[in-house]
Amino acid sequence: MLVEQIMNSAPYTLTKEHTIRDAMKLMREKKIRHIPIITAQREVIGVVTQRDLKEALPSSLEPNEREHLLDVTVDQFMIKNPIMAHPLDTVEDLALTFYDTKVGCLPVISNGELVGIVTTTDLLYTYVELTGAHQPGSKIEIRIEDVPGTLAHITQIMASTNTNVQSVLVYPDEKSENHRVLSIRVQTVNPIELIEALLKEGFDVLGPQYPGVEF
């Protein structure tokens, strides 16, 4: 999956002549935390974050000092040369960048122009989609040996029970290096038949036992 598939392609922006007041207003009204600062040619020259805003201002308990600072322009405290992403970056790259740099948002640049913005929230939603948790389904976890052909065997069983798969994730098994935990979301309210078929083939199905199923 690519950044262009998950980014917001119509981000709110300001230019360097705008003030702290403008930035605060925009953040409040649009409920956003990051604003790219761009030129007339849509080149990105900086990013203003909610945190930078707060740090730039004195405490709200000091209204007098605060007031005159509200007219300071954003180029005085924006992050210059921010880290940026490309629309064709993969979501995995993006996750690593967020993890390593601890930033919360990246402007997305193509041909030197701002084409979007992507935040940790977008990435989290992608995770929700990857797990299939946004569609009605049941989840089954299976502890499997880490050898070729296991997944094929399982999907064959799923095909034979006419079960539609929504997502498949493979986790490391905390207890054994030779095993993996397979987490599968299936599109059914009644996974009993499938679980029984898996158990019959000797698979280690994890999770709460179904009272109706013989183990």
Partner: protein, 384 residues
């Protein structure tokens, strides 16, 4: 005015996927027979379910979807044509006249609504309804049309009512929730097993509604292996605080009976105790806040022999102010159905005690549920 009406037509039994499908409306027959043998259901209280019109179904469903369901039931669908609509899947296989049967279940809930809203009865029960997973344009989780969604829209349009929907099925009431997610005049409250393993996976406490409807969806996801006491603490607190917060004109309760230990599809450890208490509090609060206006529907419940007939009978006895039945079930009922039942029937209204072996992590589960309850109700408590 009657105390309550019991909506039923034999045609409701036509909602049948197959002989082996877990969703089985033989539950209706078993429940009515149990009530009659207990002298708790008078024929005069039974009113027939009408059939919902297409216009009424359109309150909650897309025209294209209704068309597909009609065609499916008349053998006019090409292979796989229904799949994008969830029709012809393992969960909702095609059966003859599936549109007519589904429209009859919706009609039953509308009959119940009209009985209550026109003042014919204080309360009404349609056990054939409660198909809470049905979506606007898609069948899901055994549900084709969503009778509760249609009924709530109908309550709004015809009666201008402010509706509280309460769902105690072990599965999240997703179809109803999403239908009214941005509507501030409908409040949905669902208590269900968490989506960690169980269908449909949604129903997190963070699902609170959107836009103008923010703060009018309440979810109480409880852990697998939750027992009576913790279930009831959550039910009672949630009900009292949400009623007080929302002040509905009318309450619609969905009474899935699949949170019981015996239920094959879920992992909750409820016993008959919760089914004694659920209708009792709904009844009490309906009188406190809604001038008595309470409509109850059925829902899930897949141990149709040992659990559903007893659990659903208790809704009716509560609704009609009859004393809660205790002790032995009528021998005639046991004799009639035991030969057909694949499991030994429970011979008493109460469950045997203990029903199951003690759960090792009980205290942790209770603690986790209690924290969940606080978080879910925080939005109400913080604005007081």
């Amino acid at each position: 005015m009657k105390k309550a009406v019991f909506v039923y037509s034999p045609e409701q039994l036509g909602y049948k996927f197959s002989d082996t499908h877990p969703f089985n409306h033989k539950r209706l027959t078993l429940t009515m027979d149990l009530l009659k043998n207990s002298n708790a259901l008078d024929d005069a209280a039974i009113i027939p379910a009408r059939v919902a019109t297409d216009e009424e179904l359109l309150l909650a469903h897309e025209a294209k979807y209704i068309e597909i369901v009609k065609k499916a039931g008349h053998g006019e669908l090409l292979e796989n044509q229904g799949e994008p609509y969830g029709i012809g899947t393992e969960d909702t296989p095609i059966f003859e006249n599936m549109h007519e049967a589904s429209a009859q279940l919706v009609g039953g809930t509308l009959t119940a609504v009209d009985a209550v809203m026109t003042g014919m009865a204080e309360h009404a029960l349609n056990l054939g309804g409660g198909l809470h997973h049905g979506f606007q344009g898609r069948a899901s989780g055994f549900c084709i049309y969503n009778d509760s969604t249609v009924a709530i829209k109908y309550l709004q349009e015809k009666y201008g009512a402010r509706v509280l929907y309460v769902d105690t099925d072990a599965h999240h009431g997703d179809g109803v929730q999403w239908s009214f997610y941005d509507d501030p005049n409908v409040c949905t409250l669902s208590i269900h097993e968490t989506g960690r393993y169980l269908f449909p996976g949604t129903g997190n406490i963070t699902e609170r509604g959107s836009g103008a409807g923010y703060g009018t969806s309440f979810n109480f996801p409880i852990d697998a292996f939750t027992e009576d006491e913790s279930f009831l603490t959550i039910y009672e607190q949630a009900m009292r605080e949400v009623f007080e917060f929302f002040k509905p004109d009318v309450v619609l309760t969905q009474n899935g009976a699949d949170a019981h230990f015996f239920d094959p599809l879920t992992h909750l450890y409820g016993t008959m105790n919760i089914y004694q208490e659920i209708p009792k509090l709904a009844h009490k609060l309906a009188h406190e806040y809604c001038d008595g206006k309470w409509i109850a529907v059925g829902g899930g419940g897949y141990d149709i022999w040992r659990v559903v007939p007893r659990a659903w009978s208790l809704i009716w006895t509560e609704m009609t102010d009859q004393p809660m039945p205790t002790g032995s079930l009528p021998q005639a009922w046991l004799d009639r159905w035991q030969p057909e039942s694949p499991v030994p029937l429970i011979p008493t209204w109460e469950d045997p005690s203990p029903l199951y072996e003690a759960i090792p992590r009980k205290a942790e589960i209770e603690e986790k549920n209690a924290m969940m309850l606080d978080k879910a109700l925080h939005i109400i408590r913080s604005t007081k």
